[in-house]
């Protein structure tokens, strides 16, 4: 075929082109949610950005106040606070530490 896009042609032209977005796959079902956080073990994960060293300790206070029966595991005890560590092992760390739920951030 000709490799040129083509010069202007006489008369109306119809151009049919592919949709460029490609197919996607959906199918992962989110984990079941908890009835309450009371009595549960909640882990905090900080990926190392956007004030998590300030906001997570305060969030821990707020959670503990609202759910006195919950165990809030500070981010320092869950996983190394870096994006690379979380990408490599967030799921395994959560499972190994027997967490019932995780709050992570801060994505800014």
């Amino acid at each position: 075929m000709s490799t040129a896009v083509g010069p202007a042609e006489a008369g109306p032209v119809t151009l049919e082109v592919f949709n460029p977005v490609g197919a996607t796959e959906v199918g992962t079902i989110p984990a079941p949610r908890l009835d309450t956080l009371n009595g549960k073990r909640i882990g905090l994960m900080w990926q190392g950005h956007y004030r998590g060293d300030e906001t997570f300790p305060y969030l821990q206070e707020l959670l503990q106040k609202r759910f006195p029966g919950a165990t809030i595991v500070p981010y320092q005890q869950v996983i190394e606070p870096t994006q690379a560590a979380i990408i490599a092992g967030a799921g395994k760390a959560a499972k190994a530490q027997g967490l019932d739920a995780v709050i992570l951030g801060n994505g800014g």
Binding site: G6, E9, V13, N19, A23, A84, K95, L104
Partner: protein, 459 residues
Amino acid sequence: MVLIEKEGIPAVCIVGSLLQRVAANVYRGAKFADLPLAVVPQDALTRAIADYRPVFEQSLDSIVFGLTAWRPQSQATGISPATPATFVYQGQDYADAMQQMNEAFLTNRWGDGLPLLPATKERVRWLLTGTDRAPDEMVAKVPPRGGIATPAAIAIVAAMAGCRPEYMPVLIAIVEAMADPRFQLAESSGTTHASTPTVVINGPIAKQIGINSSYGMLGPSAEYPAGASIGRAIRLLLTTLGGVIPGVTSVSVMAQPGRYTGLVFAEAEDLMPATWEPLSVERGFARGANTVSVFTVGGSINIVGHPDDHVAGTILSLSKVMGMPYENYWNAADEVGWLIVSPWAARTFAEAGWTKERLRRFFFEHATAQYTKSGFLEAGHRYRGEWAAWFEAAAAEAALPIALDPDKFTIVVAGGDHPRHSAWLPVGVGGQGKVTREIRLPANWDEVLRAAPKFWSER
């Protein structure tokens, strides 16, 4: 977040308002139709709002909701094709129809803002003659959106970018390499940083298809169009299949001109010192293998040096430029940057007894940076573990090595055969893993090459 949910543990992610759609693209790329986010004002995370506490008091309800009462909107599963498969544009002539197409694509936020060529059935079929892989074979999923990159889907963006069939094996190898989880493509695409994919090509294919390794190899060239076309196709792939849209799903504050065409060039293997190994060989491939090595960079800094007059002084100058207070060095697991050395400079270094290994050791010892207080603290928390004592000692002097070991400096030989200029390409975000992939050629490669025009002249 997606890794935690996959373990059956509910999670909620706190995100600034600016990154809300970035986060949504990430979970869609992991095949979740939906996941809960606790969105907080961006300013509370960037210290524009000094007191974050009221914000988090207000956000507590949405955080708790995400872990308890939240439910996904849909639980449908399966492959969802691009719909519709094609678009039809009509014009008074070909140029007018192309104009209609371009305006529609811009409205959909597809492309890089420059005119696109039409991905017609004929052009896509023509491009697919450059590969013998099945058109519908999955090569990769492109984050954050998770669009499925098949050879056919890659050929569509390649057509839009102006590629030719002989570029397809390289393009497919780059997509495979960037999809390596170590490369962290999602992070590179979504970040506030200016990071952009960078590719060096080794092996005879570089000369066969005209990838520039010489004068101006980081810039435009009518003589060597392959690198720019391939790099542009990568950007279009990220935009369309990956859903990377500036200000929406990519929040690069500044970006950089390299995002138009990437930085795609070849190593000048035939001009490098005999005692230096090409990058591909350093990474375990046989000399002569066709490979792509991928990285992300925050920019390109041209460094003037005079190795003919003073080798040691030039090398020290390179170290000093590298040693800028650039926080992203501290995010770099495997490489802090690529140093591009011209063939002439490389030979001069080698003749003076400088191997790549000796250079890396020197850079490790002399490329040190003085951080501002905030940057220093940001960097410091990452090394509380085994590096705590070292970091504390270094902090006392306020000058820190930019890398934790010499192997984090990558040296590539390319550029015009001239002594005076080098380039430092500091790491962006992601781009890690030192990922190098072999390029798979089709059985009809000789035939493909015979049909390929040659725009460059032998020097």
